[in-house]
Amino acid sequence: MTEALAKLGRFGIDSVRHLGRASILLLRILTSMGEVLRRPRLLVEQLFSVGVLTVLIIAVSGMFVGMVLSLQGYYILSQFAAEATLGVMVAASLVRELGPVVTALLFAGRAGSALTAEIGLMKATEQLSGLEMMAVNPVRRVLTPRFLAGFISMPLLAALFSALGIVGGWFVGVGLLGVDDGAWWGQMQARIDWNEDLVNGVIKSLVFGFVCVWIAIFQGYNSVPTSAGVSGATTRTVVHSSLAVLALDFALTALMFD
């Protein structure tokens, strides 16, 4: 009985300690933002490895998600002779939900895991300590540029995902299934609101980007400096990011779209 209680207590203390360390790390990253802006070279390098290298997977998945949505939506909507609203359905689901969420999930898998592994390995091979020995602040030099790069990349990747999804959906809906081209774009423009749908989608992807890189960097920085430790941290990054994204998505949707 006491053993079980102690276990629960230990779990609670550990969770709070982790949260506290993550918050302190976040604070240190945020306060050294100015340094990065003065040396944009570091940021560009990270934008390349976090953003550019993720474009391909985002573009291909966005295209296919849009195509599947269109195909599936047509199947249901054609039963009610409402194929004209297919464009609205595809665009609304992509811009509001699927764009930010699937991008964040893919981002966690492609870029987040890479970030954690890189930082964890830097720690395991004592590169971070080495930097510190040379009086270089590793948070400032290594973590902050990566954080900022992820935060900037996410909304751009999500927009790319949605845009290509809509193009893919258009290809299937208008090109293959014979939905009217004018109805596709016209209804879409009439029903998708700039403020309500688009800006909220971008806000979502900003939040997801923030959370995903935060988790990835913290897991890397906090990993046990062994091969098993780094591999565990990488796994945790993907699992925690995915869960956080899905849970936050529910909360944000409930808050933003009534």
Binding site: E45, F48, A163
Partner: protein, 156 residues
């Protein structure tokens, strides 16, 4: 150094593609491209029943959108709905005795306001009110009337 240059170019391309995608979403997918941000003036209309008319619904004349519904209120003395709509400033020749009715796009579509111009020389000004209105068609009432008239036919 060559490699670094290439990285910079690729990052630039990435940022450009991302922003282009956002621009595409804004202009081609959302209503930002079609939204009329110019000046407008407010006119009011009272309806006995607005059905499911919502704010932001289009206001049309001859099928062309000339404004948007901005607010819907309730007149507690006359028990009527007050609909405030913004009509774009370049359509400032709407006669005073214009007829406003609430229409439905398609059988089950959204409701919007259609205006039929009257013949008066006076035009509606900012804050002006449309006097002649027709309520929204409520399906239950129409069916009720239909059944009622059928029943009366049967009595004869």
């Amino acid at each position: 150094m060559k490699l670094a240059k290439q990285t910079e170019v690729l990052v630039g391309v990435f940022m450009a593609i991302g922003l282009l995608a956002l621009f595409f979403l804004a202009m081609k997918v959302s209503n930002l491209g079609t939204i009329n941000t110019g000046d407008s003036y407010r006119i009011l209309a009272r309806f006995d029943n607005i059905g499911s008319l919502k704010a932001k619904a289009p206001v049309t004349m001859a099928g062309v959108e000339i404004g948007r519904v901005v607010e819907i209120g309730f007149d507690k003395e006359r028990f009527q709905a007050i609909v405030g709509m913004d009509v774009y400033a370049n359509y400032d020749q709407i006669p005073e005795d214009t007829y406003a009715k609430i229409l439905t796009a398609g059988l089950l579509g959204e409701q919007y306001i259609g205006l039929d111009p009257g013949g008066s020389d006076e035009v509606l000004k900012d804050g002006g009110e449309i006097e002649i209105t027709q309520s929204a068609l409520v399906l239950e009432e129409v069916i009720g009337q239909f059944i009622f008239s059928k029943a009366q036919e049967g009595d004869k």
